[in-house]
């Protein structure tokens, strides 16, 4: 079984404590990494690399650059592991925040943006709901997120996907979706709130 399925971005208390192989939470691994424990960090890598790399690649698209960014992300996580504050959210969410920010930084730098623009036609298709569903259809947590996304209005969902999964600014999203300027940010926020409430995300 994929060990990843036991890790959720909902609070650490939910990471099934009786898991057979590894009753260790990401928070604990991060904590050990903060003391310089490279073995713990390797375990952390194994547990989250698909989530982080997948998100980075989705935003960055270029495989070589995605790999580079992911490497930077892990270095940041390692260096800042002692700075993680569990009272502010789950470890996976914290790591994803780092990954997302670095990915977005990368695509917004000039030459990377050019690469991505060339592939925009294809990227737009990836944004649609069904194509992402195929890869993860068996996964319960993915299904859960898909179901939650279905409760959003189409515009909310598109705006959120373009912003989060494709790394566009809300102003760019407004243009892409022909929304009046200033309304994309509202759609993004409304969509996130709906997603949060539907998924029952708590801190």
């Amino acid at each position: 079984m994929d060990p990843m399925s036991r890790f959720s971005v909902v609070p650490s208390g939910d990471a099934s404590p009786g898991g057979p192989a590894r009753p260790v939470t990401l928070e604990q691994l991060l904590h050990r990494a903060a003391t310089g424990d490279e073995t713990a960090f390797a375990e952390l890598y194994d547990a989250v690399s698909s989530r982080l790399f997948g998100l980075v690649r989705r935003v960055v698209r270029d495989p070589a650059q995605s790999e580079e960014v992911t490497q930077e992300v892990f270095l940041e996580i390692w260096r800042h592991s002692a700075r993680f504050d569990p009272s502010k959210g789950a470890a996976l969410s914290w790591m994803l925040t780092i990954a997302h920010r670095k990915a977005v930084d990368r695509v917004r730098s000039a030459e990377a943006a050019r690469h991505r623009d060339e592939g925009y036609g294809a990227s737009n298709q990836d944004v649609t709901h069904d194509s992402t569903a195929e890869a993860v259809v068996e996964r319960l947590d993915a299904e859960r997120v898909h179901r939650a996304l279905e409760t959003l209005t189409p515009v909310q969902r598109q705006a959120l996907e373009l912003a989060y999964l494709s790394g566009y600014t809300h102003t760019e999203v407004a243009t892409m979706l022909d929304l009046p300027l200033g309304t994309a940010k509202t759609r993004i926020r409304d969509g996130l709130i709906r997603l949060r409430d539907t998924l029952g995300v708590t801190l």
Binding site: V10, E67, A82, D85, S87, K88, H100, L160, T169, R189
Partner: protein
């Protein structure tokens, strides 16, 4: 501009603000507990979307990552002034492992950090994204600056009128932006309000000036003459008010100058942003 800044929380949570909006929102966030809580929850909600994009990295990446971290020392934890401070945030329902907490989450201006942390933080632009976004932003916007000698404008930032000025300029109805992308992916955007006679520079991803040097800001008048507009910290993301009346200036520049700054630019600008 009296638009509802709270409405930016969602776009902020998914990194969908541009540099200037982000700077503005982060300034708001530092003092708005409602937005802080909302941003935290929306960040967590957005993170859930990553289950849709899972993909295993190339196997070779693991060895690269592990080899790299073996050569790097993790940073020490941020230590709050009072370790067991009663006013530490206790909203978490499940107490974290004691040894992991607390990272410093003190209000702006009250947080203390080690000098090497500061240097590191200023080097790394992504430090902001690290501790749940805004927490570190608050620290970066305040603490980082306190440790740098010579930046009188930035001292005691809580009481500092320049902070209020920056907020006003960034939110001014007549605020006009002039941006430039610098080498290495850094950006510098000047936001000017002629009504307020002030300009603010917002930088992102700047490197550090060479040792013994500082970044100095300049305003250029119609004759091409450059007048010092103060010094600017290097590294990371900065929001700095340019000193002087910017309303008639034709552009702003950044140069690298010897410690303490110069009366006139002594080097070619690393950035020049024309107000046109």
């Amino acid at each position: 501009m009296s638009d509802d800044i709270h409405a930016l929380s969602g776009a902020y949570a998914v990194d969908a603000l541009d540099d200037v909006e982000r700077a503005r929102f982060e300034r708001h966030l530092a003092g708005c507990t409602a937005c802080q809580a909302e941003v935290e929850s929306l960040v967590a909600a957005a993170s859930e979307l990553s289950v849709l994009t899972e993909a295993a990295p190339p196997a070779s990446l693991r060895a690269k990552v592990l080899a790299e971290i073996a050569t790097v020392r993790p940073l020490p934890p941020l230590t709050a002034p009072q370790h067991d401070s009663a006013d530490e945030d206790v909203t978490s329902s499940t107490p974290p492992e004691p040894a992991q907490a607390p990272t410093a989450t003190a209000a702006p201006g009250t947080q203390l950090e080690h000098a090497d942390d500061l240097a590191e933080r200023r080097r790394s632009r992504s430090a902001r994204g690290l501790a749940r976004g805004w927490r570190v932003v608050v620290a970066a916007a305040t603490v980082a600056v306190l440790a740098i000698g010579g930046f009188t404008v930035w001292k005691q930032i809580d009481k500092d009128p320049s902070r209020a000025i920056a907020d006003q300029v960034l939110a001014a109805p007549d605020a006009t932006r002039y941006g430039q992308r610098l080498a290495g992916g850094a950006t510098a955007t000047v936001v000017r309000s002629n009504a307020l006679h002030k300009a603010v520079i917002v930088t992102s991803g700047m490197s550090q000036p060479p040792s013994g040097k500082v970044f100095q800001l300049w305003l250029q008048d119609a004759t091409g003459h450059m007048t010092s507009a103060g010094l600017m910290p290097g590294g990371g993301d900065q929001v700095v008010v340019l000193s002087g009346d910017a309303s008639h200036s034709k552009g702003a520049g950044i140069t690298v100058e010897p410690d303490g700054g110069s009366d006139q630019p002594t080097s070619d600008p690393v950035a020049f942003i024309a107000f046109a």
